[in-house]
Amino acid sequence: MTISPSSLDQVVPGQGAMAPPSAASGRARRRRLRFLANGKATTGLVVLAGYGLLAVIGPWVAPYDPDARSGDVLQPPSGRHWFGTTHLGQDILSQILVGARSVMVVGLIAGVLATLLSILVGVTAGYLGGAADEGLSAVSNVFLVIPALPLIIIVTSVVEQASDLLVALIIGCTAWAWGARVLRAQTLSLRRRDYVEAARATGERTWRIIGFEILPNLTAIIASGFVGTVIFAVMSEITLAFIGISSVSSWNWGTILFWAQGQQALAQGAWWWFVPAGLAIALLGTALALINFGIDEFVSPRLRTSGRSRIRTADGRTVRMRVGFTPVLAPTPAVPAPRDGATGEDETR
């Protein structure tokens, strides 16, 4: 047993330390909470929660009806209209607030759907192997090959009235292939793991093996896949609205940008029309990416920043934790005359 377990595909919680079993439950709890100790993840979660809140209460807190026209045409941000107004005098803040729901709904539904599909296809293919694998891999390859955005454009144009839900479904149905591929590869490597074999030898049923032995070990990949799909879905929805394709009647941030672009807001100098929606999207994306960091570092012990990477030693030096050059903390005493044999220093610490 060496102390650095190593294999590329090992994304499972660490092993190596033989901690006292008595602390087991406490450690497990800590392990769960560790996710929150990660600053990046917490930031991401807080921001995401903010967006979630907006999605729920946005329409109520919006100061104006986002459609309502007013006399303040194309006004820069002011006390009355924090984010300014459109060429019709609509309040942009209200549009952003009201639009959050659609964005969140589409993002989450598409994310969930795509994740489920990718698990279904990828894990099944990877676990079953053989003809089923070849078939399912081919299907996901085909979906991978078809350019997603044009496909979404085409499919949304088939239906007359694309609701948020439908857009989410379409995005979800087209965005799973990559995840399925990754999951398949990972499942393939998990499938021959000894603990899966052991579960089989215990007599577990196939679905239980997939659901309880393999899936939990794919959490990191699934979670980051989910986050990735949500970002993709949000971007797709916004893009569809921006290029004027989707027939979603409700407000979303893409719609705002569509109007801004149609009215050439930037050329008109109406930066306030563009900037809030863009920043809202970027912030949402960043929040999701930060959560992604957190998940990675949470599940993969190697990515975890182990405490501080710089440490201050007793004599005031700063040393860095790094592979290959273990830091020496205590000041080394002056070199005593070399002696043969061992001495019995019996300090207790």
Binding site: P13, M18, Y195, T202, G203
Partner: protein
Amino acid sequence: MTLSESGAAPAGEVVLEAVGLTKHFPVRGRLRDLFSRTPAVVHAVDDVSFALRRGRVTALVGESGSGKSTVARLLAQLHPRTAGDIRLHGTSTRVRGGRRFRAYVRRVQLILQDPFASLNPVHTVRHHLTRPLRIHGNAGRGGEELERALTDLLTRVNLTPPERYLDAFPHELSGGQRQRVAIARALGADPEVLLADEPVSMLDVSIRLGVLNLLQDLKQRLDLAILYITHDIASARYFADETIVMYAGRMVEGGDSETVTQAPAHPYTRLLTGSAPDPERIVGAVGGADASRADRGGGEPPSLIKPPAGCRFHPRCPQAMRRCATDLPPRLTIDESGHWAACWLFDAATVAADPPGSAAADTDSTAPPALTGRPGAGEAR
């Protein structure tokens, strides 16, 4: 803790039997293999036959990659076999999944080789032990009975107090503890046969002894049939009733443990016993390691994709005869106790026709330069 003498245990009823068991793994060929007729395979296990009896421990020893684990997995029906038969109480079984597979694994349980890999890192000990109990209907009714069954299992493998371990995750356990959880899991199914694949290879000697004592105890109390796979021949001597030696996918020698380890017949077994570290040998010798003791390894293990014809050991065998290179030696009985070896040396006619060692490889050219040979260390005893 004592490891009792066990050589005298009566031969029980045959529970599980391997007959001509063969496993070939297909391998990805190279460019040139495309044009050859036969697809390349690893001859992991060829024509292996033995029986596991109630209340007896059978040890399987041999070099790395000789197919020991594969035999265990075949017996547990984790791999489909290429040829041969597995008989449970005399009836041939071939199950791939489903109800019949579960019925089979209830009776035959496998402990996998690597205790660090065979427990799912995301599950607690409780989960690992509850599953076999539930699957095989030993969980009883209600939470209380289950709890009792769990406590019982842990107590049986000496993980006490049980509540300290029930909710631990595998990474919170030491190697020995993990191994014992794996054993407890196998016992949860209440099997008749235990296939234990190198259950102690990674542990230090004291922990190792604890695990072996546990198995010994189970064998005696529950009348289990145990297959004990190991590299540690000395432990096979102490722990197993019967020992089988494998080399390059084939069985080369078998018999009573004490006989096989103390009077090895097959040249490979002699090499093996001769190579095993033995402190008794040097005690009293002029301190330090004696390089001249290093036994000749006789080159590299053979390729299992293109195994040598005849006896698979012949390219390394110091006593090889011409026949060894062409004819596969059958099991040749050595004495009435059931000791046998698959080696032409024990065929009187062959030895008469062709003196042993006449076809042996030129050891000096294959052996590393710095070594001097000490052939057949085992013979001396």
